[in-house]
């Protein structure tokens, strides 16, 4: 399964919900990829506040817990020379460790390999 996560982490329930869906699928030994792009890249900031008042776990903590069970990828903003560009994402500690940075061409390859179950959220 491929989850294309385009939603910012706390603006809606989309990030939390799609990570739980990915977890339920990965638990069935179905290979699961989560690809962060566009506003979804905000999910990858490290050290999200664990004392927040939203009473949900920090998304960054969930991602770190699920590494190994699912594969996580980040797609840089194609037209950005600053934040979320490829070089910006590659700088140390910008985003969580364990996230592979890929281009859209690799996203296309993933979709060719596994076109059956794709969730865009």
């Amino acid at each position: 399964m491929i989850i294309l996560l385009k939603s910012a982490p706390y603006a809606s329930e989309a990030s939390l919900g799609s990570l739980f869906i990915g977890y339920s699928v990965a638990q069935q030994a179905i290979p699961t990829k989560v690809i962060f792009l566009e506003e979804g890249l905000y999910n990858l900031f490290p050290n999200q506040n664990s004392n927040n008042s939203l009473e949900i776990p920090p998304i960054s903590d969930l991602i770190l817990q699920f590494i190994g069970l699912m594969r996580f990828y980040a797609v840089p903003m194609a037209n950005s020379a600053g934040p979320f560009s490829k070089s910006w994402l590659r700088e140390k500690r910008r985003i969580l460790q364990g996230i592979r940075i890929i281009d859209y061409s690799e996203v296309v390859e993933f979709l060719k390999e596994d076109p059956k179950n794709v969730l865009i959220i």
Partner: protein, 132 residues
């Protein structure tokens, strides 16, 4: 014999767009063509199956699902337990959360309230994801 198995994921509330009747029609067509269909209501999609909808300017989506259920009793309706609890749909006195028995009298009675784990189990059974 079913041609194919579809797991339809719905995450939006019923009147967020006037196009939802069209989405229900897609499900209807899948069923008419002998496909096996399971609906998974998730996040705000839970509201789709609330029993007391009373829209003034839209088709009643809940009644459309009830009609689908009458026409196609094999259509499976699943609602996420976490999402249902968060939105006040669970009767916490009658539900036994630890035993994963979830009860609601605010959702149509043909809806099964289940852990999100069910989603993965359905994909493992060969259902194909269709997000509407």
């Amino acid at each position: 014999m079913p041609i194919s198995k579809f797991l339809v994921l719905i995450t939006e509330p019923p009147y967020s767009t006037p196009l939802f009747p069209e989405k229900v029609k897609i499900i209807h067509h899948l069923l008419e063509n002998n496909n096996n269909v399971a609906l998974f209501l998730y996040i705000d999609g839970i509201h789709q199956l609330q029993t007391s909808q009373f829209p003034r300017n839209f088709a009643n989506i809940g009644q459309m699902y009830a009609y689908l259920h009458q026409q196609f009793p094999n259509l499976q309706f699943y609602a996420c337990s976490r999402c249902s609890a968060a939105r006040g749909y669970l009767d916490l006195n009658k539900s036994k959360i630890d035993d994963e028995y979830f009860f609601s009298n605010k959702l149509y009675p043909f809806v099964q309230i289940v852990s999100v784990r069910k989603f993965g189990e359905l994909l493992a059974k060969g259902y194909r994801l269709l997000k509407l």
